[in-house]
């Protein structure tokens, strides 16, 4: 969906669901996901539908992800950090799971 305009910026290594993703200094978590072509970051609590970053300015709460073990963080407001562990979220609770 997106390409990087310039290859400037220091590389920052993060993982998303355990897989390495090459982010850049200056990326937020949500931007790093978009740049890496990860097409959704969570599923919804009601129907389990996939969602992806939508507004990138802290308003819509679609980019909620788990960052370093803390759930439901707004990915668009958090700058990436070397070694950061990002996990996509499963919203819908299923009986007996």
């Amino acid at each position: 969906m997106f390409k990087r305009l310039a290859d400037a910026g220091t590389a920052v290594a993060i993982t998303v669901d355990g897989k390495p993703v090459a982010a850049r200094a200056g990326d937020t978590v949500a931007a790093a996901l978009l740049a890496a072509g990860i097409d959704h970051c969570r599923t919804t609590p009601v129907t389990g539908a996939p969602r992806a970053p939508y507004c990138l300015m802290g308003v819509c709460f679609e980019c909620l992800v788990t960052v370093d073990g803390i759930g439901s963080r707004q990915g668009c407001l958090i700058p990436v950090r070397e070694g950061m562990k990002v996990e996509t979220q499963i919203g819908k609770r299923e009986a007996g799971r």
């Binding site: 969906m1 305009l5 310039a6 910026g9 937020t28 931007a31 939508y54 990138l56 300015m57 819509c60």
Partner: protein, 469 residues
Amino acid sequence: MMAASDLAPSYDLVVIGGGPAGLAAASLAARAGVSTVLFDENPGVGGQIYRAIATTPVADRSILGEDYWAGAALASEAKASGALIVNGATVWSLDPQKIVGVSIAGKARMIEAKRVIIATGSQERPFPIPGWTLPGVMTAGGAQTALKAQGLVPSGRTVMAGNGPLLWLLAAQTLRAGGRIDAILDTTPWRNWLQALVHLPDFALSPYFAKGLALLREVKAKVPVHRVDRVEAVGKEKLGEVVFASGGRERRLPADLLLLHQGVVPNVNLANAAGAAHVWNDRQLCFVPVLDADFGSSVPGIAVAGDGAGIAGGTAAAERGRIAAIAAVRALRADTTLPDTQAIRQKLQREEMGRAFLDWLNRPAESFRQPEGETLACRCEEVTAQQVRDMARIGCEGPNQMKAFLRCGMGPCQGRLCGLTVTELIAAERKMTPAEVGYYRLRPPVKPITLAELASLPISEAERKAVER
């Protein structure tokens, strides 16, 4: 980086939001010798319009344009002013006693303020079309943020839909940056010209006139523009195609990215939760705070400056911030020498001149504001337009009751992406005006915080004794 524990327990002035209004307000107050702190939740100052102004990787200045780079002066002025500027600071509470709840890096503090200026700006108006929750559908503002802050440009099959200055600006910036736009779907209703035309002479005198025409020419020379009255995002797990129609003739375009925009509206959450009175603005189709000439709200000591006071754009926002700051300083220290507000008000008036034309021309069509059927009104709780309409029809009178019936507005976004839609749907079904229906009553915390953050608040001996056995 600043930690929550480094904050003083009180400040003369707390400014919330680091866009043009907040930066201008904080610099002016700090220069006048008032102890000032500015809280902003983003990684850097600039707000949305000057997003990442100090760090953008977009080096070629012609891509974002000179209006963007004008923000650099405002940011450096604020930095040099002596105001304490704290980024990554989320304000989640403000009450009429002017106690500000703020979290920084997972630690919370309650800060006392003598005066508060809310400069939380605007957000994009909800654009509830079928499929607007699919991955691959984003706001134009979101794409612009990715361009400014990270140098990301659309590279797949991209369609933009909606209306308003930001849509055309983003299109021009994307093209200059070598990004891809397959088509622009212009949703401006023809009949808007009827109300807009009388305001054209004023707009022709405003600085936005020549800029606007140049932008339209630049974009239309390179991208096919279709006038449409219906837009749908279609796909299973993500966007596959955009369906659009004009006068019943339907067309489909395969797409990876659909960027939506139909103007911006004040981000009212913090002011509403602080108890500030709001009124419906029928021209801008949104709620705006009730303000005096100095942008003071109905809550004494709390002002709302910038686009949060009603949409007028970035340059006007800075002037509004200055006026609000002058009033704050005057209230705190009557003997301070301050800039002449008359000159600032004149500048502001010039900036606001073309607004009526832009507002009337870009007023989104009813069909794009009042969805039907299975289209989601509330994205968070997945409440459909039909559900809201049905509840209104059987007697649900207002947005607050609607929360209890359907949970709309009760998800993490706290009504930001459904509030106006729900108000308008209730009004439509019950044959009332949005003013009569009103808006959600919002309550703190206006941004989610963890129990650990609350537990990190300092506790006094008296507070401890009150609950200890």
